[in-house]
Symmetry: C2
Subunit: 344 residues, 2 copies
DNA sequence: GTGAAAGCGCTAACAT
DNA sequence: ATGTTAGCGCTTTCAC
């Protein structure tokens, strides 16, 4: 690679010190209009580009934040990522994206202080489940914002929607339709399944508020929240002696998988089984039938997370960990309301 | 942030020079087992972590490659990205992901030599369409591998599948089913739509080989390859006096949008209209109906692209630009074959 | 407002 | 096999 034009080259040509060039390049105040112009001309003439690597080293920061998600090809995450990238870029930060494949070991490595530590100034972390070991091992100096999962650890921030309330609303919607046997797909009754458990809690609360008790055999757990899981769980439910007439799925993918199974058995959605999802991914707006869902405000989640992380990065004394709630809403579509009019 | 442990600290504690520590840390040869051990102990004791930023500067490389895609939330790209990340990581590289939002200006900025240039050692670039201006402005010193689009410029490599043949196979499949009026959705009859045009060419070739001529009013162009585009184009087709009985869609998303429109009009897939897509995204395997599609070998595309890029990065004299073809296959599902048996 | 010079922490050419 | 040392290109404290 040919030698790059350096700050010093520019300084020499402009007849000033490198300090002054640095000032001009970074838009600092104390420069006369005349020198600024002279320097600028030299910059243009030489085609000077600041060396980010050198700047990073000198400043001890990288200008990058990492966003860690379990799976990149899960629509919810890729849609969220889009918003995060936009927000970060608008604030002058690059985004380094990584997926953990849901591997707890990998998740741990990311927030522990490893060799890659200096590649990013902070991390927005969307864990599959919050592994306590990972939290214990984490580098306390690493600015961190966690998405989705909640926690009591005060060392970082958390951004998410109110899962319990949202799940309760979803269940209420099914109950309002007069459904009698409502199933839930996606529970995760183990340590790292906190988010799932909050949804189950909302599911139960909705029943209790009406003096009902959900049938335990209708609450199905799944390892992940994807289509195959949904398809399989639904198959199991339909094989029951008294199959459900409605299903609350903990993600839209699960809902799509479930719908697939229902339809392939020759049953109809929502006539035979009403289905509601969670996440509001684009797929659900174009599927047959379209999927009723809980829609978290992803844009808000993203900007909140980025802003909070940058604040944390900028602070000398780390601010206390904060719980932040983004809004959500219920979007009613065909999988519960049925087909309405023919659309264009 | 507290002061980091440096190489020199380790050297001091171990009673050796920093050079030796560097050798140990990087696993170089010339170190006695005894010194290696002593150094290692010092490293462990101090909890030393090499500073990536400093290493990058000293080596003049970043250990990162950038992958640039138009849209992150398009399943085809996010599925492809997964494979790229895996491949790059296995070879010791980080992946910096960026999306251009399909903005040609943005695409240009990425391969032109900008200030971010040194953040990555090379770029895997998946343009929406290959803008000639962007190519002209590109930094000739930047190792570059382009996905999807083809080109005559010899300065970089290209990896993709044989679009013409694949499209011809897709069309053949519809013709084999005895369909008479086959439409195509996704043509892009302008400079940056080369990939789309290759598909149209395959579409025409399949007809010609049987002495047929496709109806021109059944070839619909769309600005993008997403669901809304597919839905809208299909609506237009169904409004024709003689609507098609089969559609070749240039992406699975387009196919899903088209199917959505067909079904919402009360028509059946594939009985009234058979639909075939392109890309083999997961959605298409779980939709109702499931979508017949052209499946490019994404894993192969990803590893080929990464390997080739790393080779290019490592070379002093850049190798000549290469055209590389990844395999593809036709996957037949319900949208053309109809529903078979009830699935679990 | 501008200059001189000391790092940032590492790598690698050169010397021993 | 190991030590010495000069960069990598920038930022920034300290003088003037």
């Amino acid at each position: 690679m040919r030698r790059e034009v350096t700050l010093r080259d520019v300084a020499e040509l402009a007849g000033v010190s490198s300090r002054t060039v640095s000032n001009v390049v970074n838009g600092y105040a104390n420069v006369t209009e005349r020198t600024r112009e002279r320097v600028q001309r030299a910059v243009d003439e030489l085609g000077y580009r600041p060396n980010v690597l050198a700047r990073n080293l000198a400043q001890g920061r990288s200008g990058q934040i990492a966003v860690v998600v379990p799976y990149l090809d899960t629509p919810y995450f890729s849609e969220l990522l889009q918003s995060v990238i936009r927000a970060a870029r608008a604030r002058g930060y690059n985004v380094l994206i990584d997926q953990t494949d849901g591997d707890p070991e990998h998740e741990r490595a990311f927030i522990a202080h490893g060799s890659r530590r200096l590649l990013f100034d902070g991390v927005i972390f969307s864990p599959l489940g919050l592994d306590q070991q990972a939290l214990a091992d984490r580098d306390p100096a690493l600015p961190l914002v966690v998405l989705g999962e909640r926690t009591s650890d005060g060392g970082f921030d958390h951004v998410g929607i109110d899962d319990v309330t949202a799940s309760r609303q979803a269940t209420d919607h099914l109950l309002d339709l007069g459904r009698q046997r409502i199933a839930a797909i996606g529970d995760q009754p183990y340590a790292t399944g906190e988010a799932a458990q909050r949804r189950t809690r909302g599911f139960r609360l909705a029943h209790q508020a009406r003096g009902l008790v959900p049938r335990e055999d209708l609450i199905i757990s799944t390892p992940r929240f994807n289509r195959p899981d949904g398809a399989q769980a639904m198959a199991h439910l339909l094989d029951l002696a008294e199959p459900p007439d409605a299903v609350f799925c903990y993600s839209d993918l699960v809902a799509l998988g479930a719908i697939r199974t229902i339809v392939s058995r020759g049953l109809r959605v929502p006539e035979d089984v009403a289905v509601i999802g969670y996440d509001d991914i684009e797929d659900g707006a174009y599927s047959n039938p379209t999927v009723t869902t809980i829609s978290p405000d992803k844009e808000m989640i993203a900007t909140t997370a980025v802003d909070r992380l940058l604040l944390r990065i900028a602070s000398d004394t780390p601010p206390p960990g904060l719980e932040m709630r983004a809004p959500h809403k219920l979007i009613i579509r065909e999988s519960t309301a049925g087909r309405t009019t023919a659309t264009a």
